[in-house]
Symmetry: C2
Subunit: 587 residues, 2 copies
């Protein structure tokens, strides 16, 4: 098993045996450990001393269900702190099959704006991976829907591609790293935190993996692994949210639109109310029914990555039945929809398509448009003008650069104080004033406002893993802490976070996840170890942030949420600072 | 003696007796104490909970020489920390004459973008100041050179005006508060840190003072005061730098251009070298000779504010002998000149004029243009295009908003890592890699990069107050600490910092400054108390910053200065972090 280091200062590479201390790490545990151990916390995120780390999860590349996730880590140009953002794609499987536990991109070329492709293949003779660098300048400045087919053509159909779009070329703090999906579309994103700009600053336009001939993933205890994988698969196949033709497979993640709207927690028009009158028109149900009408048949969702049971990724079709875009997630749908006061699914889908084409995070893009609307740049609800703003981002005009800088950046450009961010990253689709636990997660996670970092929505809204009152702050610090630690484990295992819906309700599924890891690693972890192992990762992330100057004073929601009551519940965010401080204080 | 509070939420005011604990405070000591005591450190700088504090110095309004300074304090939208920025003008004298020790602007109107004038007069009958509010929307969106005459016309020739320009109306983090000079021009700035945007966020376009009939400043011990004022005046009249027809009076502050260039510490082309080949063409000597040629006579400089002996403020004249702009300071000249690779004095003066017209800080504007040049927006040295960029700022276009956000903001918009800022504020005209002490001040002061916060240039470059090697870091932490504390006292006394040139070399002048304060306040401070009193102020500022999330990790120069050697000395900034931490650690 290798750590592969690409030095972009001179385009050389080095293979290192995975050190003993890193042997049981994977995914987020691996990226955060390497960033913590090797990146100077006060370095410039786009300078030569930042490092960009890719790590497949512990079980990624095996038959473990819903586990083809890649974690990408670095110091974030958006938050100034540590970042891990993960995505599902065939790409991490290939990396894992080549026995690479971590790919670390270091240095940067002296000459700015020159790009290269790193082409990784398996050298069967030497029994290890091999890297070649090819000039990639010809792919600059192009739409990713145009450029991905060219790269597939150049390197063959059996490769997988990681790259970035023009958003990252421009250096936007809102720029993701994109991986191809199963249909080879550039649609699966490590979107948050500006990791695309970090990759671009290193002059590394694409990482192309061809794993043919590679030995795949070694499993130390096949019996234990198989038991675990079966338990997890059974749980996923059983739970109403995750099973085939269940909530996610039918309506996609946008099934949450109506649910959050009902709960008064769907942030609308730049977080000024928790209910959107157009919610039903953009909800998952509307996507399902809309496609049915246009295609003349019921369409269930597809997997974003190999081996997924949940299969929540949708495609939206045009009136003529041709494909418009994949995928209209809940977060994208909400950010570019409700938060902008937009209720037109075709226009939302078009903005998602443009974000994929340019390499933008859809959440940060939508919340940024909403702030621009609040500042009077365009009116709330004007989807045609919103599309034009996204196109400005694609062109790199001054207005595009303001918006490309993200939500907080745009708020600053227009002198706004009503800006929904934490640690520089915009809030996702749950209102802290209406759902207190997720507000605690937003405020305290090492990642900047991030729902995936401790998804208390499960018990607060969906009655998954228990049921608690969303409006009450009682007990929510402990809840958020437990969810954050568990999540850090899941993000390390290589599973999609959505397995949580099933395993929180079905204990054998939870056991299965742990057993899978034990099978691969030869460890003897118990389910009770999950929080402990996850906490260890959080502590490293926190230490990095503190050394980067991001301490507990930054564990706060924006001030306006403390004095502006949110309709319809007319609540403010009333969690005391001492409670917020207890989340990591008592970790 | 009063603290006057203007509540802009409902346009009411309240007069409070100065509390006992605040009686000996003035200027920066007063603004920083009120900000520390009353402003929530985590509030949004442009939200309703920030407060904007104006305080004349302890001796301001008396016959103390060179003491008509106004300190303005708030939480800064540029740095996110505490800010004090002071200026010389008749305005603070009028405030002091009305017995106002501090004017605190609080709240903000519900309706955004509506502006008001606060008109302060002395109510002789009641024996106290009076405030009236008038609508000021008609003055929006205008050049300050046009608008100031209108306000003088409206309120009479005997008033003094504080206000802001379009830069603040747009919410730029680079926007100052402007005070009229003796010729009633809008040219004296509390420029740094975005205080203009704070004032604009409160809907308070102008504060107009008419002090007719006011009782002036009470002096408790007239004898001691007079002794002190004489000693200080003697020192200022004697020292080569501060005396009439001395360095500053003849060549202005731009006398430093050649000196710093010679020392290899004149930051050039976005801090990429310490020498500018065009230095002589923009130096103070060139200004003096240029005016002489155009006017046919030698022109010495004038006072920016009443009662100044030093008189360093210049006016630059056009080829036809008509006035172009006042004043071309060293910092403005350097920022818009050397740092942009521009050697054309007329074009530099035009940019200074535009900055005054729009209400922009010239330092932040110049360093921002230099970063934009480094990003390829326009070429280095192209002064005509640079003027066009400043005009974009005046128009509030998207490009103008990027630049108006300041140097760090512009660096982010273009994905640059070579950006010379500390705590979000751009570095002034001394290169940390060539002058280590000032680098320590930039890194550690509570203000963000700021030469005036601890001007070690005096001993490092000018052999004033001793002589030390600029390239050596030895002993510089203690030097910076002592200068920072002394400066906090001087900024509280109401004197211009430039008295330091004289009083560092002439002990009786230093005594005189302290005696003046004793005379006004009835205190018995000794010269040795200066550092103690100043340190007290620094500790409050530091405490505010730490509570705002700005701790010692932010006491650093930008990373590139640690690994990019600066010609001609080819040095990096080699001061260890532990030494930087000792500055406030041992305060």
């Amino acid at each position: 098993m290798w750590i592969l280091r690409l030095n972009m200062s001179d385009r050389t590479y080095r293979l290192e045996e995975v050190p003993e201390a890193y042997k049981n790490l994977g995914g987020r545990g691996m990226t955060s450990t390497i960033v913590h151990d090797e990146v100077p916390p006060l370095c410039h995120a786009l300078g030569p001393n930042n490092k960009l780390v890719f790590a497949p999860g512990i079980v990624t590349g095996t038959a473990a269900p819903t586990s083809a996730r890649i974690s990408v880590g670095a110091k974030s140009p958006l938050t100034g702190g540590i970042k891990e953002s993960n995505a599902g794609s065939p790409w991490p499987q290939y990396l894992a099959w080549m026995q690479i536990k971590a790919l670390v991109v270091e240095g940067q070329p002296k000459e700015k704006g020159k790009y290269w492709t790193a082409y990784l293949t398996w050298d069967a003779g030497a029994g290890k991976p091999k890297v070649e660098f090819f000039p990639a300048d010809r792919y600059k400045g192009q739409d990713l829907y145009e450029v991905y087919p060219k790269v597939f053509k150049r390197f063959g159909k059996s490769v997988a591609i990681a790259g970035f779009g023009v958003a990252a070329e421009y250096g936007y703090a809102n720029s993701g790293i994109v991986f191809n999906d199963l249909a080879k579309r550039p649609s699966r994103y490590s979107g948050r935190g500006g990791l695309g700009a970090v990759m671009a600053s290193k002059g590394l336009k694409f990482i192309v993996l061809d794993s043919q001939g590679a030995p795949k993933v070694s499993i130390i205890d096949k019996t234990v692994f198989d038991q675990g994988a079966k338990k997890l698969a059974d749980a996923l196949l059983t739970h109403d949210v995750t099973k085939p033709k269940g909530g996610l497979n039918t309506y996609g993640t946008a099934v949450l639109i109506n649910i959050l709207n009902e709960a008064g927690g769907l942030p609308t028009r730049n977080f000024s109310t928790g209910r959107f009158e157009g919610a039903a028109k953009i909800a998952g149900e509307a996507i399902f029914e809309g496609n049915k009408k246009r295609l003349g048949k019921e369409l269930y969702n597809h997997a974003c990555s190999p081996g997924c049971i949940i299969q929540c990724s949708n495609t939206w079709y045009k009136p003529d039945g041709s494909e418009h875009t994949s995928c209209v997630e809940y977060e994208s749908d909400w950010a570019l929809g409700a938060d902008c006061g937009i209720d037109n699914l075709d226009d939302i889908a078009e903005m998602v398509r443009l974000c994929n084409a340019y390499g933008l995070d859809t959440i940060e893009t939508g919340t940024t448009l909403a702030v621009a609307m609040d500042a009077g740049v365009i009116p709330f609800g004007d989807s045609k003008k919103a599309i034009r703003l996204v196109k400005e981002m694609g062109k790199g005009t001054p207005l595009g650069r303001i918006l490309g800088g993200g939500t907080e950046f745009t708020g600053k450009a227009y002198g706004l104080s009503h800006v929904p961010t934490v640690k520089g990253q915009s809030m996702p689709a749950y209102e802290p004033r209406a759902v207190k636990g997720i507000g605690i997660t937003y405020a305290t996670t090492t990642m900047g406002a991030d729902h995936t970092a401790g998804y208390t929505i499960a018990p607060e809204i969906m009655s998954v893993g228990g049921k608690v009152d969303p409006l009450s702050p009682e007990g929510k610090a402990a809840l958020s802490r437990a969810f954050q630690a568990t999540t850090a484990f899941i993000d390390s295992s290589g599973h999609c976070l959505f397995i949580a819906f099933a395993i929180l309700d079905i204990p054998s599924g939870y056991e299965g996840m742990v057993q899978e890891c034990n099978g691969v690693l030869g460890t003897h972890w118990e389910p009770d170890d999950v929080v402990k192992i996850g906490s260890e990762i959080l502590r490293k992330e926190r230490a990095f942030n503190e050394a980067a100057g991001i301490g507990k004073e930054r564990d706060r929601v924006p001030e306006f949420m403390k004095f502006e009551p949110l309709p319809p519940h007319n609540q403010v965010f009333d969690v005391p600072d001492s409670v917020l401080d207890s989340v990591y204080g008592e970790l």
